[in-house]
């Protein structure tokens, strides 16, 4: 494992920690949904870095699947937020 791969792993791991901070801290529900969306993208990046680092291109199939799935989760959350999401803050 070269130094660049280690650096990429460190960057994405720090990014996951920061996204988890926003997931815990986030003052409203859309903040948490946004953080989960970012987490999925970061996991996609992490799998790509792992595939490059281990030299196994088969992991890129999982990247294709995950890049399609993450969008569906965000759209479903947004649908429920819009339909009646935060009743304590309705205007």
């Amino acid at each position: 494992m070269s130094l660049l791969h280690t650096g990429a792993f460190v960057c994405i791991s720090l990014a996951l920690v920061l996204a988890f901070y926003r997931l815990v801290r986030g003052p409203s529900l859309p903040d948490r949904v946004l953080s989960l969306d970012l987490t999925t993208t970061l996991v996609v990046g992490l799998i790509t870095v792992y595939a490059v680092s281990t030299g196994q291109p088969l992991y890129l199939d999982m990247v294709v699947v995950l890049a399609l799935i993450s969008f569906l989760a965000t759209v479903a959350y947004a649908h429920y937020i819009e339909k009646g999401g935060m009743p304590w803050r309705r205007r």
Binding site: A8, A19, S28, P30, L34, L38, G45, F71
Partner: protein, 126 residues
């Protein structure tokens, strides 16, 4: 040579994802966080996929990487738009330094339709 360039591109893509996460953790407002979390991971993912296809240097890997980039470029703006609209309609508070809210009063309250001119009763109460 191409493998080294691919490794550098993978590192740059991971760095862009870190920039996006810093923006999400530090920005004061949901919509500014969304600004950070929508664009830079897209560029980061494109760099990562370009780096992976350069690293492996095979046609089927390049096709997969291109498919991921195309899927993400289509779906990420849709997800961001739907989430931003839902957040605005459910009344997420804006940053206190916000100068102007141009969408204020343009959504009818119950049907969630967008109008080009603000309605009167929505413009008064908020």
């Amino acid at each position: 040579m191409a493998q080294a360039v691919g490794d550098v591109l993978v590192f740059l893509g991971a760095l862009w994802m870190l920039v996006a996460a810093i923006g999400v953790a530090r920005m004061p407002d949901l919509f500014q966080r969304m600004h950070a979390s929508t664009k830079s991971p897209t560029l980061g993912l494109a760099l990562l996929m370009l780096g992976a296809s350069l690293h492996f240097g095979a046609v089927h890997i390049t096709a997969r990487a291109l498919a991921v980039v195309v899927f993400y470029f289509i779906t990420a703006p849709v997800a961001a738009h739907v989430l931003g609209r839902a957040a605005y309609l459910s009344g997420v508070t804006l940053w206190e330094g916000t100068l102007e809210d141009q969408l204020k009063g343009r959504y009818t309250p119950h049907t969630h339709q967008l109008r080009s001119t603000p309605t009167e009763e929505m413009g008064e109460e908020g």
